[in-house]
């Protein structure tokens, strides 16, 4: 199983390494936010009450990592749809290879790819915009982003496997991702001071909003239970649920 997961992982890494441009295209969006939106945040953050503590980059950088994790990994299912179309999935499912390995190898690849993108993004924020954050906090943040990648790419594969249509899948993703992203409070944090009550309540239902809070906390070096506990527990639970969902979908006889 581990050996097979490694084989599948290596296969997808080889494909990505042949087309490294995709890694860059993947971080274009958060990079543009950093460049074209980030500078606006400085004054807004300092003159508006209600933002969480920390300077504007400490608020924006972890948010862009979450955005990268949400958006980047959510689209992982497209590669699976292409492999379903060309018969690659079916060919592999007739071999004795573990079906869980077929999923986990892909998820592992997506996670590593996301880690590379996150590091590039942080590097730009550090070098160009003088973002400063404690190393331990940044590392913790990266671990959370990787778990986010595992969660979303597993869920994306499960959805792709169920939907099985290259026409329906993008529509489904947009329907899910836009409200999810807005309710996570990426660009402007959804705090009790800034948001009306109903919006705040709605955002609390969204698990990713809690993960967002935890990432911001660790980024500014706040390792208190108050800042991290809820987000970590939520992240842990959704990771397990999502991997379980993906595994179940991949192991179904007729999938």
């Amino acid at each position: 199983m581990l050996r097979e997961t490694w084989l599948v992982f290596r296969r997808h890494m080889a494909i990505s390494l042949r087309n490294p441009a995709w890694v860059l295209i993947g971080i274009m969006q958060p990079l543009l936010y950093l460049l074209l939106f980030g500078p606006l945040m400085e004054k807004i953050v300092s003159s508006t009450p209600g933002f969480p503590p920390g300077d504007s980059w400490q608020i924006l950088a972890p948010a862009l990592l979450v955005q990268l994790g949400l958006f980047g990994s959510m689209f992982a299912g497209f590669a699976l749809l292409a492999d379903l179309r060309t018969g690659v999935v079916e060919r592999m499912r007739v071999t004795p290879v573990s079906r869980l390995a077929l999923l986990m190898g892909r998820v592992l690849h997506d996670t590593v790819q996301l880690l590379v993108q996150a590091l590039l993004l942080l590097l730009v924020a550090y070098l160009v915009f003088g973002m400063r954050a404690p190393i331990a906090g940044v590392l913790l943040c990266l671990i959370m982003v990787m778990l986010l990648a595992v969660t979303l790419s597993s869920a994306s594969y499960a959805m792709a496997m169920i939907v099985r249509s290259e026409d329906v899948f993008p529509a489904l993703l947009t329907t899910i991702s836009v409200p999810l992203l807005l309710l996570t409070g990426i660009l402007i944090p959804i705090t009790t001071e800034l948001a009306p009550d109903w919006l705040y309540v709605l955002s609390r239902i969204n698990p990713f909003a809690h993960v967002m809070d935890a990432e911001r906390a660790s980024f500014r070096g706040d390792y208190s239970a108050d800042g991290l506990l809820t987000g970590s527990v939520v992240l842990f639970v959704i990771t397990i649920l999502s991997v379980w969902w993906g595994a179940r979908t991949f192991q179904k006889e007729n999938a």
């Binding site: 097979e4 084989l7 599948v8 296969r11 080889a14 494909i15 042949r18 087309n19 492999d83 060309t86 018969g87 690659v88 079916e90 060919r91 592999m92 499912r93 007739v94 071999t95 004795p96 290879v97 006889e253 007729n254």
Partner: protein, 323 residues
């Protein structure tokens, strides 16, 4: 090699259930090259997907390669090779990468997979393509790569789904050679589906005709043709002897449908090749000289027509795409 009883599969879509396969029994012996012939939507691919563990039968049982299909699907997967209709190699991968990972999925070491890949590349004439991306291969090369992937673990039983669909005539004839040599030189049992009559006719030892989810006929190509419609015989005689010749023809054992036109007598017999000597002797004893004689073997299309009441081409046009 394959023994299936009452294999059936019902699909449910939008509250409607469609019986794609309705109770198929089949037996394939080791070393046979068996063809599954039928129009699109007849249930060929669905049956194949059940036998290769990709689809769970709604009912019925089967042993494939000596392993129980329902109890041990992973055991079946180890025994068989499967090449799907559209193949299964990824356009963005290199040929050697596909060969290697496929071999390793079957438990071969990297070195074994590469060695076996080279052997198969030689057999299938796709040597020297190892470093090419799959998307740069020609249709015939890609199909042979797909077949090589299905054979990487030297299975004794191979399933080929519509192996020559979409190939040009030359690649097709070439692939037929490769499929024959699989059986002749390597003793592999081959089970293939096709909706080409000529393919079933020239390639297969035995044919199962499937229509509307049921097997409607089976036998060697010759048996099927003989059993169903018999051969057509046309004898040309001088105009004044037509009536006598028709009478002679009508007395042959098994002769039917005797018709005359101008100076030709036509009739059908179960086997034209065995009826001819008898006919020649009878005509000779009556002193009738004949100018020519023709025997027309029935085609598999005649078989299909007789078994199902419609020609294969009509079935193609009328049938949905449930396969």
């Amino acid at each position: 090699m394959i023994e299936a009883r009452g294999l059936a599969r019902t699909f449910k879509s939008r509250g409607r259930s469609v019986e794609a396969v309705r109770g198929v029994d089949l037996d394939v012996k080791a070393g046979e090259l068996v063809g599954f012939l039928g129009p699109n939507g007849a249930g060929k691919t669905t049956t194949l997907r059940m036998l290769t563990t990709l689809l769970r039968p709604t009912s019925g049982t089967a042993t494939v390669g000596g392993v129980d299909l329902l109890a041990d699907p992973v055991g079946v997967r180890k025994q068989i090779g499967y090449v799907a209709q559209g193949g299964g190699s990824a356009p963005e991968c290199r040929v050697i990468e596909e060969i290697e990972i496929q071999g390793r999925f079957y438990g071969l070491s990297k070195a074994e997979a590469v060695r076996r890949g080279a052997e198969l590349s030689g057999q299938l004439d796709i040597e020297g393509l190892e470093q090419r991306l799959v998307r740069t291969l020609s249709g015939g090369q890609k199909r042979r790569l797909d077949i090589a992937l299905g054979l990487i673990h030297s299975p004794q039983l191979v399933f080929l789904d519509e192996p020559t669909t979409g190939l040009d005539p030359q690649s097709r004839a070439n692939l037929w050679e490769h499929i024959r040599s699989l059986r002749d030189q390597h003793g592999v049992t081959v089970f293939l589906t096709t909706h080409y009559l000529d393919e079933a006719d020239s390639l297969c030892d035995r044919i199962l005709v499937i229509d509307d989810g049921r097997i409607v006929a089976e036998g060697t190509p010759d048996e099927l043709k003989a059993r169903v419609s018999g051969d057509g015989v046309a004898v040309e005689v001088p105009a004044e002897s037509v009536v006598d010749a028709a009478e002679v023809a009508g007395q042959l054992s098994g002769a039917s449908d005797v018709t005359t036109a101008d100076n030709t007598v036509r009739f059908r017999v179960p086997r034209g090749d065995t009826a001819l000597p008898e006919l020649l002797r009878a005509l000779d004893s009556k002193g009738i000289t004949m100018t020519s004689i023709q025997v027309q073997r029935p085609s598999l299309d005649d078989v299909f027509l007789t078994m199902t009441g419609r020609s294969l081409r009509d079935a193609e046009e009328g049938g949905g795409d449930a396969a």
